[in-house]
Subunit: 285 residues, 2 copies
Amino acid sequence: MASNLMGAGYDLVLHNRTKEKADKLAAEGGGEVAENPREVAEKCDVVITMVPGPTEVEAVVSGGDGLLEGIRKGSLVIDMSTSSPTLARRLARTARERKASMLDAPVSGGDVGAIEGTLSIMVGGEVKDFERARPLFEAMGNTIIHVGPDGTGQVVKAANQIVVALVMEAVAEALVLGSGAGVVLEKMLDVLSGGLAGNRVMEVKREKYLSRRFEPGGQVKYHRKDLGIALAAGREYGVALPATAVVDQMFGALIARGRDGWDHSALVTLVEELSCRDNYGQGRE
Amino acid sequence: MASNLMGAGYDLVLHNRTKEKADKLAAEGGGEVAENPREVAEKCDVVITMVPGPTEVEAVVSGGDGLLEGIRKGSLVIDMSTSSPTLARRLARTARERKASMLDAPVSGGDVGAIEGTLSIMVGGEVKDFERARPLFEAMGNTIIHVGPDGTGQVVKAANQIVVALVMEAVAEALVLGSGAGVVLEKMLDVLSGGLAGNRVMEVKREKYLSRRFEPGGQVKYHRKDLGIALAAGREYGVALPATAVVDQMFGALIARGRDGWDHSALVTLVEELSCRDNYGQGRE
């Protein structure tokens, strides 16, 4: 994402908790390296954060040597991490108290989308800030949608992660049932893809399901973090999420098995093990 | 389906529990009308059944005046209903004892696919019987796949219905969460469609979600029947289906509310009511 911004002609001040990463990028693309988030904020009028989750967002934005210590009047902070809607709203309020502003702008599209500049970006916050940030978003993504006020970008991302998780559980239960009855996996995937059951997960993860190699891709641990955010949002907004709660527990059981770094489609291995079946039942040829 | 077979040049002997339907079709298409399934079997070398579920399949095939009472040596019975894999295997064995044979060949594609002759047909049984039936299938569908031995067509259909139900639950939880936070539904559907969360349900049912008009389409009561078959298959094959079990209960709650004849995408109305929200929260414009 930083490379794509530099490629679009922006001057960057870079900071990463692993300093070597920032140094490497600066050497390649010509950006300046800052010692901490505060220093980034002191030097820039737009600051973008991209970290694993809400704990890290809070540390980087409002922790010691954080962005808000150095923020300039009129600056714009854009958090592109997948984080909590509540935190997004709180930080946006704090930024406004400092005469700055903030957008929540999480993305989907994975490593590939980030590298190719084809991310989907779902943005919560004020429209004028969204318009100000649009040229930056256009350097990083191709589907860029303002979805509502502060925090709603994070809610839509949480909703997205609910759908992906439940579709993965659906495909897992279907594949283990079918192969348990002796149906070959390829045929299952072909038939299911043809009708109302068709979905992007079966297309994108097809080779992982067939090869049983679950190199990520999206990792189990991050997807569970996202479901935790979704369930917390459900508590806050008073929305019951019964199937999400079940699949969250399934991801928890995967992590308990040490598969936190596997691709999230590895949910199928848990459904298989629940049923004490190996290799999706006897359905492999 | 019968019209498409007649259109392809086959002579049909028709029977329906509602006699007027058979009479009407015979008047239009030139088929003969039989008084009961036995009489159909006495007059035909291939017999196709299409009824709501396993109870009706059993009655029509092995009940009084049923097909097996009139079946001829060498005849082929094709059950295209969505029924139970266990029943399919048992009836196929019985047919074989009578020197006949049987395929389970459930379909997906809905009313529209049946009328247009574009059904997906997933077939369990012996390959030689599948090849014999292929020209008939080609008059009714365009995706025709032999998936395995007796009963496996029904298992694959059950797996298909698992995926459709869980995707509907996923979309429902996502939409109610998003609109509960104030996000407009159209934007939710647009963003979710763009990435890994994309699925056929959101495309096909989009207008129902937006208009909140849930005329069927696939009905809640039939989809719940299908999930009952899937869960029973899970018991038989020893496959745990935790999320399917939850969504089966959700469909049950919809039926308790008198919505058995609504389109299955009306699952969203239950998620909404669980959260005591009207009109998908306050998210509608």
